[in-house]
């Protein structure tokens, strides 16, 4: 918004505010430019895609939905969704504490696969290691390929030979490993590849797992686990069978989602149902493994709350409609402002324009930094906020008129009106922000998009009123057009209702 320079110069205060505003806008723009955010990230409802909302519930009567379990589930599901290789897919938990839903968003047309994939419950499995090797493809026709592992199909041997654990795709988990078949798998770090026997012990047969310092072996970190009845006999049988076998067949791999989390060597038969995994663990590694053992089986089952698939065509239509509605809304408000407030309409239009630019830049920057995406509900929130923003100006203008009615000059009315309007605007915007915050924390999905947009625009509104509208009024109050009460200024005696004739008669 351009204001003639000579006016700005005549006073430091409004000039300074406008300079700060310019600085902020420039730095926001620069941030957007530097971070490479050149367009607002659009939600799936505006560009097409599939979103699935899952409602966690306890899978059995014994366990509960805990916050940690939800975090773990998000991690596992994220791995699965990533295995699809779709860019910009997102897995988030929305809500607070244990009362959260998991929302999976995948852009484009891969919706069906996502729905199928996340529909399965992740399961942790213990499989005997049949063969292991360095995690790179073995050259065909070499000695390794010549000694295929017995008891396993040629296809598995072939897959093992060509498996490249250094490729990212191999490490993203499949969630589709068949518990009854031998499989090939990579270690979590990609350094080792395995052929694994069918699963013998399942994650849900573990009753407890924890990381601790092993006192016997000095101060090394280790992981202890306890099996339930079923698990105790299965694990006892497995360990009894493999412990005397040669390397690497005396190892048992702990497999989650087709990725080997750990493959400890079995030193002895363990019939007691409590086992300890030792090794050169760091504290973090030990705790991670314990978590995997604890939650790998996904203690939670998920109800599929909502599946929404939006075609790119509909997305584009909704975006156009949203933008069109916003534009029409803005134009109507502008027309009304000029109609009612005459010259002051410039202030309204200018302030709305500054607010719009600022929201656009913020959407760019926030999209890049915290992953803010604009949804249809968000657009609605912003459009609704046009009303709230414009209302701040209405409150201020009416206060200025009130002050003029009290007999003040425009210049002093602009200042004293501001002091009173400021309080009203602050309280009213605070109510709006509280509403947005609560909506954001209690809601899921589209409501959050709406709440975020509403909260953001209300903050921008406060900011714009303080640093643009008020300084602009101060400057404009010095212009002859306004302070002489020109009949198109919106501040004439007539429009303020200072009916001097009647009041003098009355007095």
């Amino acid at each position: 918004m351009s204001t003639p320079n000579n006016v700005v110069k005549s006073s430091a205060r409004p000039g300074r505010a406008l300079a700060i505003l310019t600085l902020i806008l420039i730095s926001l723009g620069a941030t957007a430019f530097v971070t490479g955010a050149n367009e607002v990230r659009l939600g799936l409802d505006l560009r097409g895609g599939t979103s699935v909302t899952l409602q966690p519930r306890a899978s059995t009567a014994g366990n509960e939905v805990t916050s940690a379990a939800i975090d773990q589930a998000v991690e596992i599901i994220r791995q699965r969704v990533n295995s699809l290789g779709v860019a910009e897919s997102e897995v988030t938990a929305q809500g607070s504490g244990t009362n959260r839903q998991i929302v999976i968003s995948v852009p484009g047309e891969n919706g069906r696969r996502v729905v199928d994939l996340v529909g399965q419950t992740a399961e942790l499995r213990f499989r005997q290691v049949l063969a292991s090797g360095i995690g790179v493809p073995t050259a065909v026709d070499t000695a390794t390929a010549a000694t295929p592992v017995a008891g396993v199909s040629d296809a598995v041997n072939q897959a093992f030979a060509t498996l490249d654990c250094t490729a990212a795709a191999s490490l993203q988990g499949t969630g589709t490993d068949d518990p009854a078949a031998a499989i090939t798998a990579c270690s979590k770090d990609g350094g080792t590849k395995y052929i694994l026997a069918p699963a013998e012990v399942l994650g849900r047969q573990i009753s407890k797992a924890s990381a601790g310092i092993d006192t016997q072996a000095g101060s090394a970190w280790s992981v202890s686990l306890t099996f339930n009845n079923e698990g105790t006999s299965a694990f006892g049988a497995l360990t009894a069978r493999v412990t005397s076998l040669p390397e690497p067949t005396n190892q048992v791999a702990i497999v989650l989602d087709g990725i080997v989390q750990s493959s400890p060597r079995i030193n002895e038969a363990i019939p007691s149902g409590t086992a300890q995994i030792t090794g050169s663990f760091t504290q973090v590694e030990a705790q991670d493994l314990a978590n995997v053992l604890k939650y790998g089986a996904l203690p939670l089952a998920f109800d599929r709350g909502e599946v929404q698939q939006v075609s790119p065509t509909l997305g584009a239509e909704q975006l156009t409609a949203g933008l069109l509605a916003g534009a029409i809304g803005l134009i109507l408000v502008t027309i009304y402002s000029f109609f009612y407030y005459r010259g002051l309409g410039i202030v309204v239009t200018g302030s709305l324009a500054v607010a719009a630019v600022m929201i656009y830049l913020l959407a760019l920057v926030l999209g890049e930094t915290i992953g803010f995406t604009l949804t249809l509900a968000g657009i609605a929130g912003i459009i609704v906020a046009i009303g709230i923003t414009a209302d701040s100006f209405v409150v201020y203008f009416e206060r200025i008129r009130d002050e003029i009615r009290e007999g003040r000059s425009l210049r002093s009315a602009v200042e004293s009106g501001w002091v009173k309007a400021r309080h009203t605007i602050l309280v009213a915007d605070a109510v709006s922000i509280i509403a947005a915050l609560l909506l954001y924390f209690f809601a899921v999905g589209s409501v959050r998009g709406f709440a975020f947009a509403l909260g953001l625009t209300t903050l921008v509104d406060l900011f714009v009123v303080y640093i643009f509208t008020k300084p602009l009024m101060t400057i404009m109050a010095r212009w002859k057009f306004f302070n002489s009460g020109h009949r198109f200024s919106g501040l004439s005696d007539k429009s303020s209702g200072v009916t001097r004739t009647t009041s003098s008669v009355e007095a």
Binding site: V307, Y340, V384, V394, E398, E415, T424, V447
Partner: protein, 357 residues
């Protein structure tokens, strides 16, 4: 427009005064009627819930030539049972809505649509809602509502005073109840987007009330130290002084909402935009009404019961022989009470100190 502007000035000075707060009973009766009607509509007809709340599936696909009957027979051929709603949306789309389906059933419905109408599976917009989902989001919305009410009560009680918080709350509940009642009465679909709208009304209606209460507080700050007007009269003056703002705000807030409603309802036929804006449009109208007619009246009634205010009312009565009270006059419409409040301009002519809060 200039006549209204002139009116704004007269309303401000009190030359023209619409006796809003004094006629509280009239507004209470109007609101009570609407509230009863709403409760009745809710009890008799109930809300028309969208599939998001009751579970079910919806498929929208482009079909310029297909008819609703064709779509119905195609979907019924898959053997699914239960409720089946098929509508034409706009010129070239058909929406099929079913009850809760299993994944396999859902796939077969889609396959039937693809086979019958030759549309690409990716062009079908689908929405599958689990049967328990509605309970979850209803619960969340209720928690949100409760938390909102508590936080707002505390906030307003601290910023203003407890009685203002209470009066504002009454007005807000009134708005939500009547808006929901209108939904029940007309039978609009209630979707999560509608709920967003309802929750936003809470914020908006409060916002509107806050602006008026801010003026009430200013007018009544030192009211007991004078004997010029009762609390009710001072409140009524505040309502009159802010009424131009209230009208402007309502118009300005409704303009964008109306434009979403027009575009969302007209261009897209259905969906988030229409649902949010319809709820807002109705709610904002009701909210503006309650901010002006209900909230200040409730506040005045509460405050007039305080001993200090009773004493004040007596002093004003004793003093005001010449009909100071606007409520003493019978006319209900705009009245120009030229002879009233003669000393009004005296202290106001003194320049006020800046920064007074």
């Amino acid at each position: 427009m200039s006549s209204i502007k002139g009116l704004g000035g007269r309303l401000y000075s009190g030359e023209t005064s619409v006796n809003i707060v004094g006629n509280a009973k009239r507004w209470y009766i109007v609101s009570a009627l609407f509230t009863l009607l709403s409760i009745g509509a809710l009890a008799v007809q109930g809300l028309h819930l969208g599939i998001e709340f009751k579970g079910g599936s919806a498929y929208t696909f482009p079909a310029t030539t297909a008819t609703v009957e064709q779509a119905r027979s195609a979907v019924e051929s898959t053997g699914i049972t239960g409720e089946l709603i098929i509508q034409k949306i706009g010129e070239d789309k058909i929406r099929v809505q079913t009850g809760s389906l299993t994944n396999a059933q859902s796939d077969s419905v889609e396959a039937a649509i693809v086979a019958t109408f030759g549309v690409n599976a990716a062009d079908i917009d689908t929405q599958l809602i689990g049967p328990s989902w509605g309970k979850e989001i209803t619960k969340k919305a209720l928690y949100g509502l409760l938390a909102f009410i508590i936080v707002i009560l505390l906030f307003l009680a601290m910023t203003f005073e407890p009685k203002m918080a209470f009066a504002a709350l009454i007005a807000v509940l009134h708005d939500v109840l009547i808006t929901v009642g209108i939904y029940a009465l007309i039978g609009f679909d209630v979707t999560p987007a509608t709920v967003i709208g309802f929750l936003t009304i809470l914020g908006y209606s409060l916002y509107d009330t806050v602006v008026i209460f801010d003026k009430v507080r200013e007018n009544t700050r030192a009211i007991t130290s004078t004997s010029k007007q009762t609390f009710t009269q001072a409140t009524n003056l505040a309502v009159n002084q802010t009424i131009v703002r209230s009208i402007n705000t309502t118009v300005i807030a409704l303009l964008p909402v109306a434009s979403i409603l027009f575009i969302g309802g007209g261009l897209l036929g259905a969906g988030t935009l229409k649902d949010i804006s319809l709820a807002l449009f109705i709610g904002m109208l009701v909210g503006s009404y309650s901010s002006v007619f209900i909230a200040p009246a409730v506040l005045a009634q509460l405050r007039e019961k305080e001993p200090a205010m009773i004493a004040l009312a007596k002093r004003v009565q004793a003093r005001g022989t010449a009909g100071v009270s606007a409520s003493a006059t019978t006319s209900s419409s705009v009245q120009v009470a030229t002879a009233t409040v003669t000393d009004r301009r005296g202290p106001r002519n003194q320049p006020k100190r800046k920064g007074r809060k």
